[in-house]
Subunit: 296 residues, 2 copies
């Protein structure tokens, strides 16, 4: 049920266009490409408003998804298309990890916190992960450059949910020259101190916990100091992962206070960790990035 | 990742609450129940804005999905929640067929136009379908009464997509005392003359084509005469099923002219048959039903 016509934006031989669907006043596209950073084929979705399809440069938002997700989840259930159509914003959803690497058995559902669907947006230093699990380099160098070369992007904000909220804070504050705005929903705020993050980081980095701190969003924010005019973080009050201590939102608040980084942190009574929360917050996040793009 | 608390609306023992998620200013619920009409367990989703959760009566929209879908597709990808939250509208998505009937083998993917996911919103008269495939009675009697008994509904509009667009037109014009408004996206307008419908109706009704006409939306509309102030139909211009002649939109237009039934029929260049089209049109359809609810 998809169109298959080629668009002029997709002439670059690095990109294979997988689908195009008209959606509001724009198009939802999917692409795959061979990544050098992950030595694996990677897939991403990109929503292009009509302004971008006409070649006019637009602000863009890079959205990082959470554990177990791929590009589909937010593209189907995140409800970003209408607001991006209205404001003329490009919205990109990459995958959360490489998927094709027969040399690593990561298909164990009980270990969903590491491997496929769990790249944590870091470059692994331990075998067997080092060859493929280089998601930081993939996102901030390879995909970033590819997107800016291929699509009419003025500037880019970064946002994410859960593990992807950790990713947007981590990459936003490690690479402030690349992004003009940062936001997160239900972020894992202290990966080095959460049980999910600790299990992933033991695999990706080994036992040296001092190293883990370089990949902990709150510690990176505290060390980086103020990098953005303001960041927006939303957290559901009935989120079971928040209530069980996996997210540690207060550590991000403390880090922002220490760094004098203005933070709008909102708690939402009754909201959980699901895509129903993501869709409920999405318009506010897109508007946050849009306002920051106007200032820049 | 779902809450599981019981809501006061779900005290009726006929309904089993499967999930509750806070979503915008309201909640997305799922329920299952044992249906007499289909002699099968049936599942539906219902979005309840805060007004309804507080017990205030609200207008409702019954959404009928297309071939191969269940209640999940539109609930995940239809983007109705924000607009229903804003306007205070209840939105119900039933399944498209019974699912549990070991006596009928309907798991053949090549025959997706009949059986599971393909109830066509009719009551079958031929074996082996008669026991379970009674979707018209299920929707307009059993589920309708259950919804009005269980939830604070003022009045109900009916809408749908593709096979569900056929369903909304068919049931809306056969049962105008039950619904205050009708709309459809990409409807199968002449099921008795489309290859999908013909294959389904041969199974459900046998070879008597005169009987099929009673379950053909355009013929029912023409026969019923004007029943609604206005109906809204949207059709994508790049919809492959439209282009291949499965939908026969012009027959609905002719039937409405004959019946003097006001019809707003809009074609949308570039749009296909997918959920990207549904989400693009959804707000307009919800507003159509909301305006009709204000008039009634």
């Amino acid at each position: 049920m998809q169109n298959s016509y080629s668009h002029s934006l997709s002439n670059n031989k690095q990109l294979t266009q997988k689908s195009v669907n008209r959606c509001f006043n724009g198009e939802q596209h999917y692409y795959s490409h061979e990544s050098k950073a992950t030595q694996s084929p990677m897939t991403f979705s990109i929503y292009l408003p009509d302004e971008a399809l006409a070649g006019r440069r637009c602000p863009a938002i890079l959205y990082l998804s959470g554990l177990t997700c791929n590009a589909d989840n937010v593209t189907h259930k995140g409800h970003f298309q209408q607001k991006c159509s209205e404001l003329g914003i490009i919205f990109i959803a990459p995958d959360t990890s490489p998927r094709s690497h027969a040399d690593i058995d990561v298909a164990d559902d009980e270990r969903y916190f590491v491997g496929q669907g769990a790249g944590y947006y870091v470059d692994a230093t331990q075998a067997p992960w080092t060859q493929h699990f280089n998601m930081e380099t993939y996102i901030v160098d390879e995909l970033y450059d590819l997107l800016r070369a291929e699509f009419p992007i003025i500037n880019m904000g970064i946002m994410g949910h859960s593990m992807g909220g950790h990713g947007s804070l981590l990459l936003g504050f490690k690479h402030p020259s690349k992004f003009i705005s940062v936001s997160a929903m239900s972020p894992v705020c202290a990966a080095s101190e959460s049980s999910w993050g600790q299990q992933a980081y033991t695999e990706y980095f080994g036992d040296d916990k001092a190293l883990w701190e370089h990949f902990d969003a709150s510690k990176v924010v505290a060390r980086a100091g103020q990098q953005y005019v303001s960041i927006l973080v939303d957290q559901g009050g009935a989120d079971e992962f928040f209530l069980e201590g996996h997210l540690q939102t207060s550590k991000l608040q403390e880090a922002c206070e220490k760094a004098k980084q203005p933070l709008t942190l909102r708690y939402h009574a009754g909201h959980d960790h699901s895509y129903y929360f993501i869709q409920s917050m999405m318009s506010d996040h897109i508007e946050h990035h849009w306002h920051m793009a106007q200032l820049s």
